[in-house]
Symmetry: C2
Subunit: 242 residues, 2 copies
DNA sequence: GTTGATTGGGCTAGTCTCAGACCATTGATG
DNA sequence: CATCAATGGTCTGAGACTAGCCCAATCAAC
């Protein structure tokens, strides 16, 4: 896998991850699990959502039906109806963690963690190297404050929001997409990690360091702080698996 | 675009970039332009390639036909036949550069450059943080030597090979894919930049610094060297556009 | 030469997906 | 209580895509 053929594997990979139905289910699940549409929130109307996703209403409805059957959504008819998110992240549980890893495969896990480390550090570095308007600085600080004031129930969702905001603030939608993808690949695993106060305290310090480095315009420090933070959670994951 | 709806735009984006035919053309073009299949080289047989790309042979043949009509491929029948790459990167030309940027849009260009900066710096950082076997160290050095000994004709292709090797060596196929995608988005622009000896000399020094930092296991230095290198080519691009 | 393996070229029946139209339900509003 | 706008539910005909099969061309090996 070290020779020229590695590049063939990379570029000549499947054009599509599955059929339209499967890919749509995956995308909606990403929106739900990342908390883009929070519990109790409503997806956009079918007609609008189908246009956004670039698929037909029929296919979208099949996907919504599947997620409804699986208990992620509650679909209601009539005006002020819609598809409401009923999914709440399960309580952290080391047993579920081991199962989730088994489903995913250890190689894929390593791949996902490496990918996440690279793109999130890259985003932090890039953002720290940009000149930021007051608006953007304020948004970053607000996300940090939201996270620090979060209940245990909201913590994961606001943590996601904080991390994704860093990528979004770079203004690169490709980078934002990559970070969202990276996060959703490890989302189930992160949710399964018990939230101990010690870890939350460490995370808060690290989050603060990341924001400080970005606002100070220090790409090196931002990269280092983000790397330290992500390595921390990756180490937690590995610890629960050993 | 700074509020919650940014995440809706990111996650609820089109599920598919186009139909199977279009996506296949795009993928094959990526393989050709990145030099994964070099000029004179042959694509895998249709039956095998269709399986790899996860599409039907009919769709693949339509794509090959389109690229053949456009002059990228020469298709020959019979045993030892196949689809041979005839495309050679056009000679650098500032006029073509301006046109290529116009086709792509300045916002998309900024997006692509930001994305590339983030993922390639991330890859360099991650690789520098790993323990590398002798094999892998040797491969990296060989890619560097190949590049330094390249003719002007081969330079771009071997430069691509060098950069992509860094991502591939991390072992993360997600990261390798992201870097290949980033590179192909700016490939036409890079090809249009005149290759002046001064710039090549600068690049050689920077490539050396990147490899040294990676082999020394210094993620910070690797990130910094890669950022400096990429900012250099980005600056060249911007200069030719101003 | 003849042969045979390999490769592109082409056809068909069936499935997936789509666009668009129309129906059914709901609940705020007058 | 009647209305009506917004939303999910359903159907249909057309086009895209696929799997599988067989044909045609080429050329090394015998």
């Amino acid at each position: 896998m070290l020779d020229e053929s590695a590049r063939l594997m990379t570029v000549l990979r499947p054009v599509r991850a599955g059929n339209a139905f499967e890919e749509t289910v995956e995308r909606l699940l990403q929106a739900i699990k990342l908390g883009v549409v929070p519990p109790g929130g409503k997806l956009p109307p079918e007609r609008e959502l189908a246009v956004r996703l670039g698929i037909s209403r029929v296919t979208l409805r099949e996907a919504i039906r599947a997620l409804s059957d699986a208990g992620y959504l509650d679909v209601r008819r009539g005006r002020y109806g819609g598809a409401f998110v009923t999914y709440e992240p399960p309580a952290p549980d080391a047993r579920e963690l081991r199962q989730a890893v088994a489903e995913m495969g250890r190689d894929d896990l390593a791949d996902a963690l490496t990918f996440r480390l690279a793109v999130e550090c890259g985003a932090a570095q890039v953002l720290a190297g940009m000149e930021l308007t007051g608006d953007r600085r304020a948004l970053l600080l607000r996300r940090l404050a939201d996270l620090n004031g979060a209940s245990l129930e909201d913590y994961r969702r606001l943590d996601t929001a904080f991390h994704l905001s860093i990528a979004e603030l770079t203004g690169s939608s490709l980078l934002a997409t990559a970070c969202a993808d990276a996060r959703s690949r490890v989302s189930d695993l992160l949710n399964a990690i018990p939230m101990l106060q010690v870890n939350l305290d460490h995370a808060a310090v690290q989050h603060r360091a990341i924001v400080d480095a970005i606002l100070a315009g220090d790409p090196d420090a931002a990269r280092r702080a983000m790397a330290e933070h992500l390595e921390g959670t990756a180490a937690l994951l590995r610890a629960f698996l050993a």
